[in-house]
Symmetry: C2
């Protein structure tokens, strides 16, 4: 495994592999890897000839009041984990190379970027789209792997790829959870033991939604109401949003259908956590 820190070297390496007809898989991450990331890495290893994992805490996707500086980083631990998985290249660029002085260009997926997480994180998805488009141009992947935990991100990036005619296929893989149900996230490290217990309410509320749906409930006001009430019982939790939307336009739906996205964001203390579920109706 090789760690590459400059854009020209990464481009040159990729050109070499592409000229040999090898397929490239990219797993874009912000590092501080967990089992959720590793599931993406394994999928990339399986599906493509050359696996590139990028590690870059992308400043443009953080708001001024957000946790860019505090975001956990540990390149040595990350590298060791990736080496063990047989990854070929880690792309680990510097912020000043990705966004040199005078940087001006941004990509936006209108409408979708203002909904759900976009409402409380203005500019976040513009930063995500911009850095991912840049990574796609540098690494030229055939397949790029993202986690379904960031459901809105996966939907927006899929739309960006189709709209801009990019030659990459976006693969979204299921949420990986801790044994108690908490969705894996690098931000879980922010939680105190007490907060970590409180954070289980996100997954529990989704489980309650699933129970209601399995019993035939289709009215989203009823389901979301129960979820909100359950989260409301948790003193350390403060709801950002709990919504049921279609996965094309991210517009709220009144009645659940196959493929409806139930998504939520909840502050546990100062830490904002997200979780979600795609509804599959039994037939």
């Amino acid at each position: 495994m090789k760690i590459i820190t400059t854009i020209p070297e990464m481009k040159a390496v990729i050109r070499g592999h592409r000229s040999q007809g090898r397929t490239i898989g990219l797993v874009p991450t912000m590092g501080f890897l967990h089992e959720g990331h590793m599931s993406l890495v394994r999928a990339a290893r399986k599906k493509t000839d050359v696996t590139v994992v990028s590690i870059f805490v992308n400043p443009t996707q953080f708001g001024p009041e957000e946790d860019f500086k505090a975001y956990p980083r540990d390149i040595n631990r990350d590298s060791a984990m990736l080496e063990k998985e047989g990854v070929d290249f880690v792309f680990y660029p510097e912020a000043g190379d990705m966004y040199p002085k005078g940087y001006k260009t941004y990509v936006e997926v209108h409408d979708l970027e203002d909904k759900l997480c976009g409402r409380s994180r203005p500019g976040h998805f513009r930063g995500v789209c911009t850095v991912v488009l840049k990574l796609f141009q540098i690494v030229e992947p055939d397949f790029a792997f993202f986690g379904e935990k960031d459901a809105q991100q996966a939907i927006i990036l899929g739309k960006m790829v189709r709209d801009l005619n990019l030659g990459v296929q976006v693969v979204a893989l299921p949420i990986v959870r801790e044994p108690e149900g908490l969705a894996m996230s690098s931000r879980n490290t922010y939680l105190s033991p007490e907060e970590r217990r409180a954070a289980l309410v996100l997954a529990k509320s989704l489980k309650e939604a699933k129970r209601l749906i399995d019993h035939g409930e289709r009215r989203t006001d009823v389901i979301l109401g129960k979820m909100r009430a359950m989260i409301g019982q948790e003193p350390l939790a403060r709801i950002d949003y709990v919504e049921a939307v279609d996965t094309e336009e991210l517009e709220p739906v009144k009645e659940l259908g196959e493929g409806t996205l139930i998504a939520l964001a909840v502050y546990i203390g100062k830490t904002r956590l997200i979780d979600n579920m795609i509804v599959h109706l039994e037939r």
Copy 2:
């Protein structure tokens, strides 16, 4: 020469040529070709193995009050001209394929897009950047050729390419002029004979600027003042802007230097025309 009208076919053809190691040249146009375009085509032919000319009147770069519908089109005449030059492929997509229902993704080069032409054409450069990025993804050119008549466009696209790490080199080629000095433009067809005579004032004012510079004048307020006065003498002309800016930030400069851009936009009747000159100081 083959005319290709669908995105998947264009992509497939390009993949074939790229896998053979051939270099690709792209000349993006809105059609109704003139000698300015043909100079780009000849440069592409000379510099690359496979030349693709795109013809697409891009709706997203026209404002609601602008001339999208009236813009001149003649695919048969254009094809004949390109065939004669030995072009390999004409890419001639439909608007509904480039921007399908529900299209949402746009690329912007902030700051630069609001200046000069951007002030009177809000959204114009967003449309240009978006369509050119799409064409770059579809055609995967090694080199793309643009005219210096659209100086701001060439500067913005160069910036987009660098910022987004695109694997294409932007080549900008000199303005081609009619014998009387009028810069070639598809929009010149809008002009009545009387207006066409009046339109010469753009090039004449640049010539006057050059004369002053050759005589040692460096103060832009003096030079631009003379240009404005000269254009003001022409009853059919109405100034949109006359400016002297640096080519990095497009910010007005008080004193001319090597490489300063003197650019102007002038309405002749209802037709908005542009012209410009890059200052080269004698040593």
